[in-house]
Symmetry: C2
Subunit: 154 residues, 2 copies
């Protein structure tokens, strides 16, 4: 085995994130929704009468077609309702049904998120925030560099 | 929108991890493998003659069935070879093919990982490690608690 403390840290980041999201997923299962469906419910609520599939896809950083699939499933599950725009033909937007509003309220309690993040002291929180931003910026730098390298140079 | 600093931290963790893995993914695309396939190659190499699907799944924290799917695809791609255990019926283990060993050597260079993690000072590194372990343990605690709640109590 090669000694590699950079890789150990990388693995710890991946493992921690995996465990955190698994815990959140377990919580949401109680409300019969997935993390992605929870994100869609929150965005529909926030966008209000601007909750078109395109806008929802834009704010949750997903392809419009995959968001449409999720919206179709959520409509079948009775969580959202599709509304045709009377002013623009072919344009639809979504609202939450009563059952969708209930799932929304339950999911924004974010019990696991509070339980996990509150295990940090104020000092831990401040340090983690600073360090993650350093990593994020270094990651963005690598990404820009590599995308450059692979781009078609005329 | 509800003010929620715990959620902000959660989002920062998710965003940082997303950017880091996107950078690593870009690097691995050069060697025509995915991050998950790279992890599997490394684990097969480390586990040597103990590289059964169950052991590989255990060390990379994934469900055994999803690791089996990856192993099947990697076998088709000529990266790994399945070997039947002559001593235990039905038990299989994996080894790297020549092409798998080549992809392994290239991927363990981990250029993006070194570039990103080396942006941290020794003190940052120490702090991040301590904080992530706190979060991981809090996550595991939540997970245990919730899995208990949902189990069938006789």
């Amino acid at each position: 085995m090669i000694e590699d403390s950079d890789y150990d840290m990388w693995a710890l980041i991946a493992q921690t994130r995996h465990i955190l999201f698994k815990a959140r997923k377990k919580e949401l299962e109680e409300y019969k929704i997935s993390p992605m469906k929870s994100a869609v419910l929150v965005k529909i609520q926030e966008l209000a009468d601007k909750a078109t599939p395109t806008q929802i896809a834009r704010v949750i950083v997903r392809e419009p077609h995959s968001v449409s699939e999720i919206l179709n499933r959520m409509e079948k599950d009775g969580l959202v309702e599709r509304i045709k725009d009377p002013e623009r033909k072919g344009r639809v937007r979504y609202t939450l049904t009563e059952s969708g509003r209930k799932a929304y309220s339950q999911s924004v309690k974010r019990e696991t998120i509070h339980a996990i993040i509150s295990s940090l002291s104020a000092e831990d929180y401040r340090q983690l925030s600073t360090i993650l931003k350093k990593l994020r910026d270094a990651g963005l730098h690598e990404l820009t560099k590599r995308q450059y390298k692979f781009s078609d140079i005329p």
